[in-house]
């Protein structure tokens, strides 16, 4: 009862105002390529220093959840993920927008984000201490296997040729090794350039690989970039709800995947959404339609990435280990306010913690009307903007967004070069998603592998370290299962095809 009272404190007019402002600011910042949720939260942390702790947390949580959702706008309307967690939203969001269903895609993204956010928020409320214990069991070897598990997604992300998908992932993994080594501190592949010491910045690479090809294609033909709707159809809310109801199990599964992935420190929304997308595609009876504008693809990715918001707070509050990068910034803000994470967050400081949880749920619900309103105008304006304005505007946003990440002009050059290379590779059958996956998973896999290898050397059994722990074996089993499933599925389809052909001929 006391807990409920704390949660209801989130409904004070000041806290509600902060939630509305935070969600709106987050959506706008998240929709700009280059401005990630982490940056949105980090930039606005100083604003919260004078506020009561629970209000500060509500504002930061609202910005975070709004930014993660806002990332889907650019992904759907201009094929550029506004935040890394919206990578997989481009797969089906942009094809939907191109065929004139951008408004429906934005509505689906809004509904999915709200559902994902609510599941993650409720998991934070109900299961925080229990789930945090699971995260503690993950050591370097488990992270290595988790990264390898992530790489098995390539088979579902590479359209057409799996071999080319693996080459793309190899290029991404190789790019992730540029700069100072994660373990040992050697400089690698810098060719004497001081600019490459910091490595290839992931978000810059992501902007380049997704955005520059869009720009190049926009000037290729005079045709419209998005098909305008034939008549005013509002936000197509009813249609969106119907599709959500059809994909309810997909949404629930994706929300659970998002929450679980977020609990693992360092994994983040991009991995959560990619895993969910892959699972949705695997389980769907319309798997052939994925990548061509299938609504279930958007439902999976957007539910999962918003579920990471609540899920990521679980290890942050219970263990003091941030689940996702924005959680690290919020943890810093919490420490500035004089709070210590750990069990006392749920005892001595329960009023702050539960008011924040209530605020996060309120902010997530508020995302529905705010998101639908902003989304409607975002789609209308992107459709009506002529190419002569759209192309320089997108180019300007990519340049300024990339520069702002590290205030480094060299990152902009790398972004453009990678973008042009990505466009050429895409024409030759290597899509950007496996490259990005390799780039994201590379450091996690390498750190886990090298640390595991050192542990194995110290204990005298490298194999024992890598294959001796039950959690590792569980992830290995899942990896093998998921890697072999496409082969089995393709074989089964071939056999069925042969049977049908045989029956038709007889």
């Amino acid at each position: 009862m006391e807990t409920l009272g704390f949660m209801l404190a989130a409904l004070s007019p000041f806290n509600l105002l902060l939630a509305v402002a935070g969600v709106a600011a987050g959506i706008i910042i998240g929709s700009l390529p280059g401005l990630s949720a982490t940056m949105a939260v980090a930039v606005l942390v100083p604003v919260t220093f004078g506020m009561p702790t629970e209000s500060a947390l509500i504002l930061l949580g609202a910005i975070y959840t709004g930014a993660i959702y806002g990332g889907s706008y650019a992904a759907i309307l201009v094929n550029t993920p506004g935040t890394p967690s919206a990578i997989a939203t481009t797969f089906d969001g942009y094809p939907m927008a191109r065929r004139g269903d951008g408004d429906l895609a934005v509505t689906l993204s809004t509904l999915s984000s709200v559902i994902g956010g609510l599941v993650g928020g409720l998991a934070l409320f109900c299961l925080a201490p229990l789930l945090a214990l699971v995260a503690l069991k993950f050591g370097p070897v488990e992270y290595f296997w988790l990264a390898i598990f992530g790489l098995t997604l390539i088979s579902s992300l590479s359209e057409g040729s799996t071999l080319k998908g693996f080459i793309g992932a190899g290029i991404g993994l190789l790019l992730s090794t540029v700069g100072v080594a994660v373990v040992g501190g050697d400089t690698r592949y810098t060719f004497g350039s001081q600019f490459l010491l910091g490595g290839v910045e992931t978000i810059s690479a992501l902007i380049g690989l997704y955005c520059i090809p869009v720009l190049i294609e926009l000037v290729a033909t005079p045709s419209e970039h998005l098909k305008p709707p034939e008549a005013s159809r509002g936000v197509r809310f009813r249609e969106g709800v119907t599709l959500m109801f059809r994909g309810k199990w997909n949404a629930l599964r994706s929300a659970i995947i998002g929450t679980i992935v977020a609990i693992l420190p360092g994994a983040g929304g991009s991995i959560a959404s990619l895993v969910s997308y892959s699972e949705a595609r695997r389980a769907s009876p319309r798997s052939e339609q994925f990548g061509k504008g299938e609504p279930d693809g958007i439902i999976a990715t957007e539910t999962a990435n918003n579920a990471t918001v609540g899920g990521g707070f679980i290890p942050t509050f219970v263990l003091g280990i941030p689940g996702t990068p924005p959680d690290a910034v919020i943890l810093g803000a919490l420490l500035v306010q004089g709070f210590r994470t750990g069990p006392e967050m749920f005892t001595t400081n329960a009023s702050v913690t539960y008011t924040f949880m209530g605020g996060l749920l309120v902010a997530t619900v508020l995302m529905l009307p705010i998101g639908l309103l902003i989304g409607r105008y975002a789609f209308k304006s992107i459709v009506s903007v002529p190419k002569a304005i759209l192309v320089p505007t997108i180019a300007f946003m990519t340049i300024i967004g990339t520069y702002a990440i590290r205030n480094n002009p060299f990152d902009v050059v790398v972004m453009v070069v990678l973008g042009v290379a990505g466009w050429l590779l895409a024409r030759w059958g290597i899509k950007p998603s496996p490259i990005v996956l390799g780039l994201i998973l590379g450091p996690i896999a390498e750190q886990g592998f090298v640390q595991g290898y050192l542990m194995g050397n110290a204990t005298g059994s490298v194999a024992g370290v890598f294959f001796g722990r039950p959690l590792s074996l569980g992830i290995i089993a899942l990896t093998v299962l998921f890697a072999l499933y496409p082969l089995w599925s393709a074989r089964r389809k071939r056999t069925q095809g042969e049977v049908v052909a045989h029956e038709q001929s007889t």
Binding site: S161, I167, V391, T393, Y403
Partner: protein
């Protein structure tokens, strides 16, 4: 694997062979430059290098057997596409020298020119230019003023 022969594909196997060979060259380069690294730092790049070498060879073999083809691409305005690449590349290289604002205004005006496929009228030029300058000013103000991002002022002017 999904790389079964596509009977309906009329694309070129030559591109896939070139891509496979480029992958082999990339992998060989990665392995060559990893030879001076310490054992801990080299283990991961070497593993990736070996895997890329295998994938590259497999791609060449698959392409020679007619199993890997690149679908023909829709024709487009190559001149405009090339111009866009040159402008954006030059923009990124001149940020430091011309300054963020000057290089951006110049590049955006040029991009506006190549992204427009219809006839220009004086009114349209003015409306587009004003809109573009307002967008640039708005984002510049947001990043430089509100977010305190130190955008380069340009060595050329100082």
């Amino acid at each position: 694997m999904n790389s079964r022969p596509d009977l309906h594909s009329s694309g070129s196997a030559g591109v896939s062979i070139a891509l496979g060979l480029a992958t082999v060259v990339l992998a060989a380069g990665a392995l060559w430059f990893a030879r001076d690294m310490s054992m801990l730092a080299a283990i991961f790049p070497r593993t990736i290098g070996v895997l890329l070498l295998i994938f590259g060879c497999c791609l060449v073999v698959q392409a020679l057997r007619g199993r890997e083809r690149v679908s023909p691409q829709a024709p487009g305005h190559w001149g405009r596409q090339l111009a866009l690449v040159v402008i954006v590349l030059a923009w990124s290289l001149t940020l430091k020298w011309l300054g963020f604002l000057a290089s951006s205004v110049l590049a955006c005006v040029l991009l506006m020119g190549i992204a427009h496929f219809h006839a220009w009228s004086a009114r349209r030029v003015v409306v587009y230019l004003v809109t573009l300058l307002l967008i640039i000013a708005g984002f510049y103000g947001l990043f430089a003023g509100l977010l305190n991002v130190p955008l380069p002022r340009g060595r050329f002017w100082s």
